[in-house]
């Protein structure tokens, strides 16, 4: 038994700026076709033939970039708007967490608004009355429920809206990115509520950018990209494919953004660790390129936390050198030095460097937390005088499935003696 059936759904919007949908009163009343007679330049296809089923009792995730058609899909399922072609069917009572508190009237009390909002969502007055205490308790609003809604903070507003919508007790719940709004405690409460929904065999459709949520909660997922299905099936697989694609795109944009030619004139700063980005040096030796390589040798700019990486520096000596040091530094986005080293610190004795050569700096495990990192690479004399110093000219991004904090992520594991049962680690 399917709770939601979506069959080859297309949705065409008119681009804004056109005066109106109907030219004349007559066309408004008589013409059935609404957008098919408009040409390509005036329309925008938000969905181009998407199909999927959601079985009853399953939790289904929709992921995709901004503008991929996720929210449009959700609105069509919610019945707000009709697909241009194709079919959407929902079996059972539906509640949509799309815009929380839409329809709250600012001048009247939270209490009155709960009643009206509940009735708008399809409850009878009596049904709202029996759930009223639960709604208020869930939103944690006992103190303010009789104050006019205009005095509420935006968090209170959203909490109350969420609480009403979720207490409608739907068979099918549509959730659009609402978990991002509450504080931590409220988010946990919401997740518990979803888990509870799941246990009771309700169907949940989740649109979110919180990808772990999808892998954790969903039985099935779909990835929409520019209105078409890019992947559909097991959430882990879909999310992995999506993450890879996002990473690939970031790679492209970061590669395009690397400014190796940003040569700075003038003397090198005395303390490099606090200098601004730039490039200094006398260029007896020159850094030609810097690449970040995965274990399989492919170049990238986005890495998983814990992945092995080689920073490969292509260098050229314009004359035979005997005094040279190669160095690498890793800085977090806010400028904190996560790690810095060079061949001199590590006790290497330079002997000879001439012509073109590659220097590889190998990290077996990129033990960093999620975020962007700036990389310094340099070749300089032992007294520190630079031949060629790239200060924060290279950027990599670390993606991580964990939201841990700190400066680095040391390889670690947990152990528990008997008496503690814990799963998922």
């Amino acid at each position: 038994m399917n709770a939601i059936e979506v069959r080859d759904v297309r949705k065409v919007y008119r681009r804004y700026g056109r005066r109106t949908q109907f030219g004349t009163l007559k066309s408004a009343l008589l013409s059935r076709g609404r957008t098919h007679d408009l040409n390509q330049t005036t329309t925008f296809e938000a969905l181009r033939g998407v199909s999927f089923d959601v079985a009853q009792g399953k939790t289904f995730g929709i992921v995709g970039r901004n503008g991929s058609g996720k929210s449009t899909m959700l609105k069509l399922i919610a019945g707000i708007g009709k697909p241009t072609s194709g079919e959407v069917q929902v079996h059972g009572r539906l509640s949509a967490l799309i815009e929380l508190g839409a329809g709250f009237h600012p001048e009247i009390s939270g209490r009155d608004n709960v009643f009206i909002n509940g009735m708008m969502l399809g409850l009878s007055k009596r049904e709202v009355a029996t759930r009223f205490d639960e709604i208020v308790a869930f939103a944690d609003m006992q103190e303010f429920i009789d104050a006019p809604v205009k005095t509420y903070s935006s968090g209170m507003y959203v909490r109350l809206g969420f609480s009403v919508a979720i207490n409608v007790d739907p068979d099918v719940l549509l959730v659009d990115e609402v978990l991002a709004v509450g504080d931590e405690a409220f988010t946990h409460k919401c997740l518990d509520k979803f888990a509870d929904f799941k246990r009771r065999g309700k169907t949940v459709l989740l649109v979110t950018h919180m990808l772990d949520l999808v892998t954790r909660f969903c039985d099935d997922a779909i990835w929409l990209d520019h209105g078409v299905t890019r992947a559909h099936g097991d959430p882990k697989r879909v999310i992995d494919a999506y993450r890879l694609d996002v990473a690939a795109e970031e790679n492209r944009s970061m590669a395009a953004g690397t400014a190796i030619d940003a040569t700075r004139r003038g003397d090198a700063p005395t303390d490099m660790s606090t200098a601004r980005e730039g490039r200094w040096g006398s260029r007896e030796a020159e850094i030609l390129s810097v690449e970040f390589l995965r274990r399989d040798g492919t170049a990238a700019h986005v890495f998983e936390s814990g992945e092995a990486v080689e920073i490969r520096i292509r260098v050229r000596a314009h004359q035979r050198l005997t005094d040279f040091v190669f160095g690498v530094g890793i800085f977090s986005a806010d400028g904190v030095c996560c790690y810095g080293t060079n061949t001199d610190i590590e006790g290497a004795q330079p002997a000879e460097f001439s012509g073109d050569a590659d220097v590889g700096f190998h990290l077996d495990s990129l033990a960093l937390i999620e975020g962007s990192y700036k990389i310094d690479v340099a070749v300089h004399r032992r007294d520190g005088t630079p031949y060629d110093y790239h200060r924060q000219l290279h950027t990599i991004r670390i993606a991580s499935q964990w939201k841990d904090t700190g400066v680095f992520r040391p390889p670690h594991r947990w152990t528990f003696s008997s008496g503690i049962r814990i799963t998922g680690l």
Binding site: Y13, T20, Q21, F22, L25, A28, L29, R34, A78, G79, I80, G81, K82, L94, A96, I98, E99, A102, G103, H105, E107, I108, D112, F115, I116, M119, M120, L121, S124, K125, P148
Partner: protein
Amino acid sequence: MLHSLRQLLRHRALIQSLVARELKARYRGSALGVIWSFLNPLLLLLIYTFVFSVVVPGSPSRQIEHYPLFLFCGILPWTWLSSSLLESANVLVAGGALLRKVLFPAEVLPLVTVFAGLVHFALGLPILIAFILYYRVPITADIAWLPLIVLDQLLLTIGLALIVSSLTVHFRDLRDLLSNVLTLAFFATPIVYPLSEAPAWAQTLLALNPFTHLTVAYRETLVMPGLYSGWPRLFALGLLSLAICGVGYFVFDRLRDTLAEEV
């Protein structure tokens, strides 16, 4: 039509609550609160009476006994009609967030404005009765027709409100057009003058205005002496109002799917 009635019944609790909210929200924060509902028609009446019996003591006021009462009978229902229509022209656009984000029967919104207008109308009735008593006009059994007249007007207003509200979403110019049409209609309805005073050719035209018949009916049942004999017209008007209601629902229903995208 049948469907629309069912719809209305299904959402009556919601409409009720929304009307209550409308009234509550309207007077929140004002010192006089609900007294304004009485005060507004009273002040309006004062102005019109002053203008037509002091500033221009022309023909209508001189010949009519109890001119303020005569005027009030016309202004009270007119205010209901015009304010309902003016507000309906705005109500869908104003409630845009609702239509775009919540699955919500859109016709509830114009209905709420009409019913809120009805409540204000009902609050004005005691003042009208007070006037009748003040002028010692006998209250006759004719008053029993009042509910039917109100029902006629209710249906007529709902029909027009449905048309106005849904069309305004697509044709925003209607809003400005409407206020002018209403001004014209105000004078094309025998509110400040009696129908019998108009020249014969004008009377024929005025008879085409359904609101003329409503105003005349209010007046004849409430303040005119003699038994009310216009009731066949009242039933005919009822049928017409019902038809307009049907047209209104058809128009609204045709445009329903496009509302969420356009507001």
